[in-house]
């Protein structure tokens, strides 16, 4: 099949010049050429390979395609971790140290300047270790006894008032409606309601439900609670009961009792029955223990 061979070779553009002449002698050579020429009109609408490649690049995960600068990225990653780490370290360092006690729990803290804080039950104390030497500030909610070493101003801040000292021993009691500062050594300045009051050793400052109560000099060396006792002098009974509930895990029901009557005396923190008796006997109060550590008090 000479003819078919020729056409096939022509299709593959493999004709030699000799064969080309032969091909031209075919009776339908013109027809074939015309067809081949016309076919070119069916050429494709142009294909924009650049924009297609752009689209492919976009849909492919872009991070994979940045592999060239991988070492800079690696470096930046490490740098970021270091920066974040430093940030967290400084932030945690700048946070307040916070100490809380629960019912019947006492604890003590030694501050960075060797000042001593003894913390009574149900109390929150917080302070910042940073720059402690120049800025001795401590926040208090509850009751604590301070033995402050000499140094810069030492502030105890409560929501009711601020106590400022240079170096002494004193006790601060800040409970609902009660704010009491007792100075055992040196002098203490109490700032409360924009008025300053200087306490000397043995003096105390007492604020009951917003009223300043005059008090006598005491001759105690340290607060009674330091020795597991709670001592009260002409204190409304309600405050005694509240303190009682802080020292023992009990609930007192004192609805039947006049809680405004004054109480002078003390109770121990380690013997519930004895403590109950030492409050109730002088005031002629009966007590009855129920389950779930509930105690009902009533007048005799």
């Amino acid at each position: 099949m000479k003819r078919e061979e020729l056409i096939k070779k022509w299709l593959d553009n493999e004709l030699s010049s000799e064969e080309f002449k032969l091909f031209h002698k075919l009776d339908d050579a013109d027809e074939l050429m015309k067809l081949s020429e016309s076919i070119k009109a069916f050429q494709i609408p142009s294909f924009n390979s650049d924009s297609t490649f752009e689209k492919i690049n976009q849909s492919i995960n872009p991070t994979k395609f940045r592999s060239k600068n991988s070492w800079t990225r690696q470096f930046l990653r490490i740098a970021a971790i270091v920066v974040i780490g430093l940030g967290i370290y400084t932030y945690i360092g700048s946070l307040d140290t916070r100490i809380s006690t629960s019912i019947a729990e006492k604890t003590s803290v030694i501050l960075p300047d060797a000042s001593h804080v003894l913390i009574n039950s149900k109390t929150d104390v917080s302070f910042n270790k940073n720059n402690w030497g120049n800025n001795r500030d401590i926040k208090l909610e509850g009751e604590a006894y301070f033995k402050v070493s000499k140094g810069a101003k030492f502030n105890v801040r409560t929501s009711t008032g601020t106590i400022t000292v240079l170096g002494t021993e004193f006790n601060v009691k800040h409970r609902d409606g009660l704010f009491e500062v007792m100075c055992y050594e040196g002098s203490v300045n109490v700032n409360c309601n924009d008025t300053d009051q200087l306490l000397m050793s043995g003096d105390s400052f007492l604020l009951l439900n917003g009223e300043i109560i005059a008090t006598d000099k005491e001759n105690l060396k340290s607060p009674a609670w330091k020795n597991n006792q709670s001592y009260f002098k002409s204190m409304p009974l309600i405050f005694v009961f509240r303190e009682f509930e802080r020292q023992y895990k009990v609930i007192l029901d004192y609805q039947l009792i006049d809680t405004s009557q004054k109480f002078t005396g003390s109770f121990a923190h380690d013997d519930l029955d004895l403590a109950l008796k030492s409050i109730t006997l002088p005031l002629n109060i009966k007590f009855e223990k129920l389950k779930q550590s509930k105690i009902i008090l009533s007048s005799e």
Binding site: E4, I7, K8, L11, D12, N13, D28, E31, L32, K34, L35, S36, E37, S38, I39, K40, A41, F42, Q43, I44, P45, F47, N48, S49, T52, F53, K55, I56, S59, I60, K64, F65, S67, K68
Partner: protein, 171 residues
Amino acid sequence: MTDDLKENICDETLFSAIFKRHSKDLHNFLYYKFGESYSPADQVQDAFVKLWENCGKITPSKAKSFLFTVANNATLNATAHKKVVLKYQKLSHKNYTHETPEFILESDEYMRKLQHALSNLSEIQRTTFLLNRIDGKKHKEIASLLGISQKAVEKRIYSALKKLRKTITEI
């Protein structure tokens, strides 16, 4: 080929070289086979994205057949063999002064016949024939693109030519 020095194609420069080498062939192949309705450029894009996603498993020499298989399969699923009519552009006739209106009319008629004849070809015939005639691909190149023998390509093109001529003269 130097391609196989690398085990896979997960490399930006290699990938872009593969794109440059095969994207146009792939695009034209899809166009000749399925026409314009199935937007060949998008199919090319999808096929290359798939190629990149699987780049770890594919050696450079396998990339081409992967691309053609993926694109072909994706298109097959959707086209359901509808009739492909390719558009033609008006050939820029040189301003022959001797062109009579009859001649122009005649050649328009011829182009319409040719279009009809092309759409009557089988997908395989049309694809090989147009790759050869329009893109000027040698039989050997087409054979390697489609993964068939050179002899088969030759046969297909020849049969396509015969069928075209037959259809044109019949109308």
